[in-house]
Subunit: 519 residues, 2 copies
Amino acid sequence: MRTPALHGVHKLARVKVERPVFARYASFQPAPKLGVSDLNPATLEAKYAVRGSIPIMADKLRSQMSKGHHGLPFDHVISANIGNPQQLDQKPLSWYRQTLSLVQYPALLEKLDSMDPKMRDSLYPSDVIDRARRLLKSIGSVGAYSHSQGDPLIRQSVANFIAQRDGYTADPNSIFLTAGASAAVSYLIQVLASGNNTGFLIPIPQYPLYAASISLNNAVPIGYYLNEAHDWSVDPKQIRTLIKENKAKGVVPKCLVVINPGNPTGSILSEHDIEQILAIAADHGLVVIADEVYQENVFQGKFVSMKKVLARLLEEDPQTYGNVQLASLHSVSKGVSGECGQRGGYFELVGFAEEVQEIILKLASINLCPVVTGQVLVELMVNHPKKGSPSYEHYHCEVSAIHKDLLKRATLLFESFQKMTDVECNKPQGAMYLFPRLKFSEETYPKLFEHCREIKLTPDEFYCTQLLKKTGVCSVPGNGFGQVPGTYHLRTTFLPPGTKWIDAWVRFHGDFVAKYKSS
Amino acid sequence: MRTPALHGVHKLARVKVERPVFARYASFQPAPKLGVSDLNPATLEAKYAVRGSIPIMADKLRSQMSKGHHGLPFDHVISANIGNPQQLDQKPLSWYRQTLSLVQYPALLEKLDSMDPKMRDSLYPSDVIDRARRLLKSIGSVGAYSHSQGDPLIRQSVANFIAQRDGYTADPNSIFLTAGASAAVSYLIQVLASGNNTGFLIPIPQYPLYAASISLNNAVPIGYYLNEAHDWSVDPKQIRTLIKENKAKGVVPKCLVVINPGNPTGSILSEHDIEQILAIAADHGLVVIADEVYQENVFQGKFVSMKKVLARLLEEDPQTYGNVQLASLHSVSKGVSGECGQRGGYFELVGFAEEVQEIILKLASINLCPVVTGQVLVELMVNHPKKGSPSYEHYHCEVSAIHKDLLKRATLLFESFQKMTDVECNKPQGAMYLFPRLKFSEETYPKLFEHCREIKLTPDEFYCTQLLKKTGVCSVPGNGFGQVPGTYHLRTTFLPPGTKWIDAWVRFHGDFVAKYKSS
């Protein structure tokens, strides 16, 4: 076995190739390989803090630990930087995995048929077997490409689910199955971004996928601030002013992104806030992207979908709202599903011109099709066991255990933040994160600010770096999501199990304050 | 249940929203919704014929047929437009699906443990159980996000596979697992395309994913013709001339795409051709994208990987070849796997600057991670049952049956083309397609050309449209792949089972010639 010598010693070339004469002169300088300055500048500029410098540092620590004798003051790196439930102890729902194992291995269905019924029932409930057969009848094989928009049976199930949730019908032809919500964001932004005068209104703080996708498409992010003092609610006046100012500068806002329940904020929008957003969209003919992937993760208050409010407004005042274009996103990665690695999701379009929808379909078709097992998971999420079916009790038992556990974890972490000096955190309403504010200022923490200037980190970056190095807890600094200048936050998921990591954080915070706060 | 009235009658608005005064005047004209002219022009321009107008027509016929009483002269639409083996009768390998069913449902592993051994062995061979456990130990859960570059254990397996295939080591840190090869193409082109002066050399005919991705990134496709008369081989002189001409025009070629075995051509490059390509890459510091997804689909001749030849040249002459940057693509969608819908693949980078590789990783991380079950399939493809293990015999039996069957189908279709008047086709060497030439000319088929001008279709488009309408066979006209002006081709996969569709095609062709050829 030989390793290709990329930077080895020159040897006589034994291969005869037809090369131009200049290349054979001894003085010939070979063309250099590509450096970053040769690359697409948009790909250099795009930032994605959730897997940015601190998580990369965490990876290095993890690899250092795996070699033993690491000398670090902790035993595990806790990945609180990302909402990845099944990496953090959440068990997948049996209903999902049983059905998936059968659609992956249809020969097992035949074996089950010829099995003693008692044995069969102990392996697979009959409604799982029925659903697997029904899905296979529609998709054929999970190894075959499906329609680029997704399997028709599953799109119909999604439409039924939306109708059930909202009380308004949905059209399966306007539903696109996707490989997670990220793929949906990527298609929609790519289609809408027609140059560096296209504006996308995004909340600040935002989930950084939005800013990254806008960068990659050379469009302009227009950040509107959420109001931290009022549970991170929207300020419609501010949005209207931003639209006006940007239009005056020649930037045309085409799209308004809303994340509800909020990421990273964990807040839930009121129906009144949603109405204000739709009124703005109507006045300016905007596309609204409603990122509703956390719709099942609700602790307090009530989730109301953007589609439901739009449908009502269209009924009440079709002339005003007929120009609103809504893309609502959902995913199997969050909620009680937590199936991030399986890449399933969907988006529903309302009010889009048919020709625009066709372009979106073309983009989807260039990517061939969303992974078919991810599509199957969407079906299982939106069309779960009904009362009276063999899987019903167990399914509901698992689901309610997850809901209880998430609430417990969120509350525990929230209460710990409340006890920390100079940390302020809104009460969690939904999603999987807390976004506490670190109330550091030049006046109260002069040593911190001086040190940060020296090492060229912001105070939130420095705090998160130290937290990782001292406790193994990997979080993401607020500047990865955006924040009001002069304020400092961090995002952490509350998913990690146990309290040991929280205790370590509390101790770390005490030490940090003791070291950097002026007495 | 109410349907949102998108274009209904105006009703009094009952909702109170804070809207500017102008919007409340009766004379106010609502902002229009977006039309195609408001969209990203690159998304309008991108073309993907494999799922283009003829396949869309086929979808419509299929839906017409499902309603019964369709009055069409055939019973089935045959999707010969795309290499989708499992839609066309190819059975998935048991080894793959057994292992996948266990990693999807780990609780079954425990149930198997407590089962009567005879019963257990009848359900799952022990090496399947072992592999599933080993994979689960590394990935945790297929529902958790993995590393954005892919699971480390699986990347190591890929490196071992490449080393075994080529006789040169591979570095797992330079291997990226992806959701099929399409994702790899999309990352690489996006990173390299730094504006409308970036050139990508692509073969003509090409797999249209390349032209589409280049369009989407506003870069310049530079088509180099393959030589149909010599089994679609490359012409290095032509490529060198194109580079020179384009540089003179201010277009900088950064990348040269090679598809081997060829799509749509079905040809296999000789080692000599590969050497010529690498010499060009060395002279100009190019990135070579070697699309080798059909490396298992070889009927005649021998597949030699671009990496193997580069590794040898680097050993012989590191100074000359040290600047070549190679990205080799592979996929679980083709070969004997045919797991298109599961979206698994990988690419290996050789010779890339570390900072460039980091940007590619960042792009991958914005998409979070490739679907984890697709990664598992890559493992199962590159690391299959070894001699002596319980699955070995059955695995090889299935694999060799697929190989035999594919050769049979390719030969059958090829021989039918040979019998058709004015059709010329190179003997299939590899891949899953035939790309016959329709030898139509203005002189011999004046009625055809006259008719085509009237209905504004090219002769190949018209032929494929008629073929679909008369026989239900859905193929793709040559102009979707590119062809020498004045020549006409079509691409068809040879995967559909049986001979009925081929017989129908032969009859159709006879009628077509009789109708349009001048006597």
